[in-house]
Symmetry: C2
Subunit: 368 residues, 2 copies
């Protein structure tokens, strides 16, 4: 590194320590050959984000001629444009073409966004829907997890369909200007419904249902402008339908997870879906620009989702473990592949998570 | 590296050169700190897959004590178990727990699978659907691209709905046992339809439509057992609906791409959708285990998709460029984020690609 670049880094040190988002940089700096994984592990062990930023600025100066321009271009690629501009006197970074940029959502704020968890456990007698034992385990896990991932967590338990609706609308109406993303988790019974964009419906405790499509669209660009261009994530732990045993028919050699079977329940409806009963035929007219949305389903539309009365649902248990192990280093889509891989391996395809998205960038959680 | 490990590598050299799938390894070897990106670039420049494998085995021996066990565990993580077993005498690799494995689909065969491209350009007079000028450009690009990516490409032009149906069924009925994946590309007009799993329909040249859900499900685990557990990829360049100008309403400051506007057409229907007209109400009963499927839509359900009469569609042009630049190093989901990012940036959210998937692993194309 040239002496002038080193001095520029030193002069910018304070702002870098304050503002630098390190998490999205590791992958880029690895791929550009500036650091090895061992070196990055070492920097990550420095402590908090600020400590890591300080260490990164120090170590960078020992990494050869390419280190400075590679760092500046990584800042550009991760949309840290102010910091890139601060350092750009020190090199002539080549103009990046749109396709050259590895697109990454940047989470700068703390908290990075709201996380609303709706946890439906007890359903009204008339609803024919059973107690969702184990759901509180899921809920507590996710509250803890998403707090660690810098979300402001809001939890609601046992809501009727209309209350769910109100809760979501109220969240969508908040001002998210000072936040970088938004997350909604629904833990409930569900069923399949035919829709234009996002499939499935979830149940209120009164047995009335609300379409996932409707939930998602409260947060789109036109209904929730302060989240425009920001990632909106939805995690749905609910049944996609009543096709419980299909996986076994197809893969009859798949072992049943005997150890759990005594405690296993499904989030399916115990009766047939009322076919022909369509939700929100007018939803089409109000569908607006649907970008930056990811909906992760615990199970694929049309299939059941399994829950252990003591340990909680397969999906949430796996999601929580994967986030624990990999949120500091991997992007959300790769982590969801890990979840799908692990959940589907339980009794081979008995449950198959799915994911529908209109994301434009990689999403890395913010880790403390 | 210990001398015994070096000798074992030398003894296994012939099989490694013949069988080693190098593409999925780069990322892992980078992250494990065995090679820097520069070193990997150098190995990739060695030439064909075989040449790269040979170079990798040579260079590995110079990379320190961790190189051998890291290489063996990378073989395990990429499901190259035979090769891992071949080398496992040389180290005691720790038993990996399911969540520790980075799941990756392995493409070993050459060709790796069929790629069927259905290219509808001319529509019958009664259909009210216009000539899709520029679609042949798309088709030729993708034929060339997917041949380079080791697919056996089959192309069909101007098919009626029933012919599309027959073509897909005939592809699904083939024996894919000796192949590792399957790819279907549809270039046509499209419209939105309400469905349980995958949204949208595409048009035959006779103006009759066929649901994307139906297309996808010909290839699922029960209807096409020889593709069970293997990735099935669908790329749909067609309209998701007639909501052409919504993006502008939402982001009224977005610039129109004037240079193109004279040649721009949409793959939308020029008239209102026939609401209430539902496809395949019986599809539900026949939906089977829906794993390992990815459907990439040129545009989000409900929205139009843009095509330039001379350069072809925005989506295919971008997809082809991204595959050209990144297929050798990045997995499909990250590349699709790049496509979404670039396409949505054309006139900001005028067109928003989307992706629905039940993949369980990362997908890396096989490069020659």
């Amino acid at each position: 590194m040239e002496e002038s670049q080193r001095q520029l880094l030193q002069r910018s040190r304070l702002r870098l320590v304050q503002e630098l988002q390190v998490a999205p940089l590791w992958d880029l700096l690895l791929h550009k050959g500036i650091f090895t994984q061992d070196m990055i592990d070492e920097i990550q062990r420095a402590g908090t984000r600020r400590d890591q930023a300080r260490q990164l600025v120090t170590d960078l100066q020992t990494r050869g001629r390419q280190a400075f321009p590679a760092f500046v271009s990584s800042l550009q690629e991760t949309a840290q444009n102010d910091l890139a501009a601060l350092l750009s006197d020190g090199c002539k970074p080549p103009l990046l073409r749109p396709l050259d940029i590895k697109p990454i959502y940047i989470l700068k704020t703390d908290p990075c966004g709201y996380c609303l968890i709706i946890n439906n456990v007890n359903f009204s007698q008339g609803s024919d829907l059973s107690l969702r034992a184990g759901s509180d385990v899921d809920c507590e896990k996710l509250e803890r997890r998403f707090r660690l991932l810098c979300f402001e967590v809001l939890t609601q338990r046992d809501l009727k369909a209309q209350e769910i609706d109100q809760e979501l609308q109220s969240l969508a109406r908040r001002d998210h200007s000072a936040l970088d993303c938004c997350l909604v988790v629904i833990l409930s019974h569900g069923c399949q419904t035919s829709h234009i964009q996002f499939p499935g419906s979830i149940y209120g405790t009164d047995g009335r249902r609300i379409a996932v499509e409707k939930i998602v669209n409260y947060f789109n660009g036109s209904q929730c402008p302060s989240l425009r261009g920001k990632p909106k994530l939805f995690f749905i732990q609910a049944c996609g339908g009543e096709q419980k045993d299909r996986g076994f028919e197809v893969d009859s050699d798949s072992p049943v997870n005997e150890a759990h079977s005594g405690n296993l329940e499904s989030d399916a409806l115990p009766f047939q879906i009322r076919s022909g009963e369509m939700d929100e035929p007018d939803a089409v007219a109000s569908l607006p620009t649907p970008s930056d949305i990811l909906v992760s389903y615990s199970t694929f539309p049309g299939f059941v989702s399994w829950r252990d009365k003591k340990r909680g649902s397969w999906y949430v248990e796996t999601l929580d473990s994967v986030l624990d192990q990999y949120a500091h280093s991997e992007d959300l889509q790769i982590m969801l592949l890990r979840v799908a891989h692990a959940v589907s391996a339980k009794g081979i395809f008995k449950q198959m998570p799915g994911c529908f998205n209109s994301l434009r960038k990689q999403f890395f959680f913010k880790t403390k």
